[in-house]
């Protein structure tokens, strides 16, 4: 099958007839629901751009499985160049949508599972990697979206999965059959789940003895009987029900998250990729998190590009573009944004080949990348609000602009530079509001903080890989701590000694 067009993708999601609930009601025509549709449009951009030659260097990759070009979101990274292009592709999509386009989580999940299933087979004699290879081939041949589902509700965070009062607070196996397993539980904060063809489930934390039923990874179609979705609210989401294009800020694109419930869902063995091998839960979590933390060095940068641009346009329209403090703030925003990009690129350049053959990012640098993402978008957003001015949150509603009496008044009193239509000034301010306080702030701010793991999760990984003993030895060596002072000598004899 050829690559899907955006239209074919949207129709394929409609054809799934997913069980989605929003604002207390089941939504049957979800692909046309005004709250949901912008998120579908954002996901569809991953298909749309792949059709255009001017974007295909980033959007497509050479599959080592099916021997032809595939959408990079279904690709198993074959080089550090692939890792770099992934980050650049995510930046591009952030620029084109100004929001979370949701498809990276599945790409990161399949790359983590690729190597973990291989390692599990080597250690345990299982056949997960063969199954997973066939599954990824299926994804590539059909150009499908896979949702990577990791985060369990977790209940009492002080207790292991098997020790919870309610056993369903971590997704688990409730029945093992000859033909497969039956699972129960839920996955929270599921980005793009309602726009996905497939759900790839992984455990959410390290497992210990007794947690075997919780150490599971599998894939299943998103419309498998027993799965349903409770759509997450976003700040200002009901503005999308008002029918306008101004107050929503970004009328075309948005992101979404959902609580995904598994109510005794059957999964055949061919789609099970981990089942009880508790020692591989932790590597799977760490590798998925590493890939996903590097992804944030692309997608958030692209959205940041939009926000910086919007702030610069707001300054233009206010007639203050040449003020030195305005220019300096734009420089600072750019510096922060490009620092994030640098981290995404660095952890990709420093990636390495795994035993399974795919490429993995540098774990330390990926965690440093995400740690910066937990901070810098907040400062970029603060500076954007600074440049936008208070009008961003005090301007009248779109309906007032259309009011016979109020419209001309708003045009007159909310004007900026005389050569700029007032409506254009208001549109760019609403876009900044959308990104910093509205529906897109879910992706740009809170997701930057908690997505792919909260800040402390990265600090734990950074501490583990800080190589502190090596640093201490470097300092001791130069300070002659605990060693007799060496005789005076040239610096090069020391260097030669170190190597051989």
């Amino acid at each position: 099958m050829a690559l899907k067009t955006a239209e074919e993708f949207i129709q394929s999601i409609a054809d799934l007839h997913l069980e989605i609930y929003l604002l207390g009601e089941k939504v049957d025509d979800y692909t046309n629901h005004p709250i949901i549709r912008p998120s579908l449009n954002a996901m569809a951009m991953t298909y749309e751009l792949a059709q255009h030659p001017e974007y295909q260097d980033l959007m497509l990759a050479d599959s080592h499985l099916i021997g032809r070009k595939v959408n990079r979101f279904t690709h198993i990274h074959q080089s550090t160049e692939d890792l770099i292009k992934k980050v650049k592709m995510l930046r591009l999509l952030g620029q084109k949508t100004g929001t979370c386009f949701q498809r990276c989580v599945g790409m990161d999940a399949i790359n983590a599972l690729w190597s973990v299933t291989y390692d599990t087979d080597k250690a345990r004699g299982t056949e997960y990697h063969r199954r997973f290879r066939e599954y990824v081939t299926y994804l590539q041949e059909n150009d499908l979206v896979a949702d990577g589902a990791m985060t369990d509700p977790k209940g009492d965070r002080g207790k292991a999965p098997s020790q919870q009062d309610d056993p369903d607070l971590y997704l688990h196996v409730v029945e093992r059959r000859d033909d497969g397993i039956v699972v129960r539980g839920a996955k929270a904060h599921q980005t793009g789940a309602c726009n996905s063809h497939e759900i790839v489930v992984m455990p959410t934390i390290a497992m210990r003895e007794g947690d075997e039923d919780y150490a599971i990874a599998f894939a299943t179609p998103s419309n498998t009987p027993g799965i349903f979705y409770i759509y997450g609210r976003q700040s200002c989401d009901t503005r999308k029900l008002e029918g306008g294009t101004l107050d929503v800020g970004n009328s075309q694109f948005g992101g979404h998250e959902a609580l995904m419930v598994f109510d005794d869902v059957f999964v055949p063995w061919e789609r099970v990729f981990l089942c009880g091998e508790i020692e591989f839960a932790s590597p799977l979590v760490e590798r998925f998190a590493g890939y996903h933390r590097s992804s944030y060095g692309g997608c958030k940068v692209g959205v940041g590009d939009v926000l910086i641009g919007a702030a610069a346009v707001a300054a233009d329209y206010n007639g203050v573009a040449k003020a030195s403090h305005i220019k300096d703030k734009l420089v600072e925003m750019t510096h922060l944004n490009e620092t994030l990009f640098s981290c995404g690129i660095a952890c990709s350049c420093e990636g390495h080949k795994t035993a399974s053959g795919n490429y993995e990012i540098d774990m330390l640098l990926a965690n440093v990348c995400k740690q910066n993402v937990t901070r810098f978008p907040y400062e970029i957003a603060r500076l954007a609000e600074d440049l936008a001015g208070g009008l961003m949150v005090t301007m009248p509603a779109e309906q007032d602009l259309h009011h016979e009496k109020l419209g001309p008044v708003i045009e007159k009193y909310l004007a900026g530079r005389c050569d700029v239509p007032t409506i254009d000034r208001l549109r760019v301010l609403r876009l900044i509001e959308n990104l910093t306080l509205g529906t897109a702030a879910v992706g740009y701010r809170t997701e930057s903080l908690h997505g792919a793991g909260s800040p402390q999760a990265q600090r734990i990984m950074i501490a583990r890989q800080a190589n502190l003993e090596h640093k201490k030895e470097l300092a001791k060596e130069l300070a002659h701590v605990g060693k007799p002072l060496p005789p005076q000598r040239g610096p090069f004899s020391h260097a030669a000694k170190d190597e051989d």
């Binding site: 390692d119 990636g351 390495h352 080949k353 795994t354 035993a355 890989q465 090596h470 170190d498 190597e499």
Partner: protein
């Protein structure tokens, strides 16, 4: 035995100690093997892989991994020995 090092910018293992330990074992030292020793998972040493290497007698150490699979630092020499003994005409056992 041929040993190829990475540049050593941020090693998580003691590369020179590992090399010394390998060379101290006569059968290993006399073998035709090539061991690429990198300080971390980036595996820069293996970028110097040569077409003249006998693939059956190549071992890649990258931080606490051997040929891509995790191995604790203290067990690296034993794992390298095990790998080379598994080669077609490997070490005497």
């Amino acid at each position: 035995m041929k040993i190829v090092f990475c540049g050593g910018c941020n090693p998580t293992i003691d590369r020179t100690a590992l090399a010394a330990e390998l060379r101290a074992q006569p059968d290993l030292a006399a073998s035709e093997a090539t061991v690429y020793i990198s300080g971390c998972a980036r595996s820069c040493a293996s970028e110097h892989a040569s077409a003249r290497d006998d693939p059956e007698r190549v071992v890649v150490v990258a931080g606490e991994t051997v040929d891509g699979l995790p191995v604790p630092a203290a067990a690296l020499v034993a794992e390298i020995r095990r790998k080379l003994q598994g080669a077609a005409d490997g070490l005497d056992t």
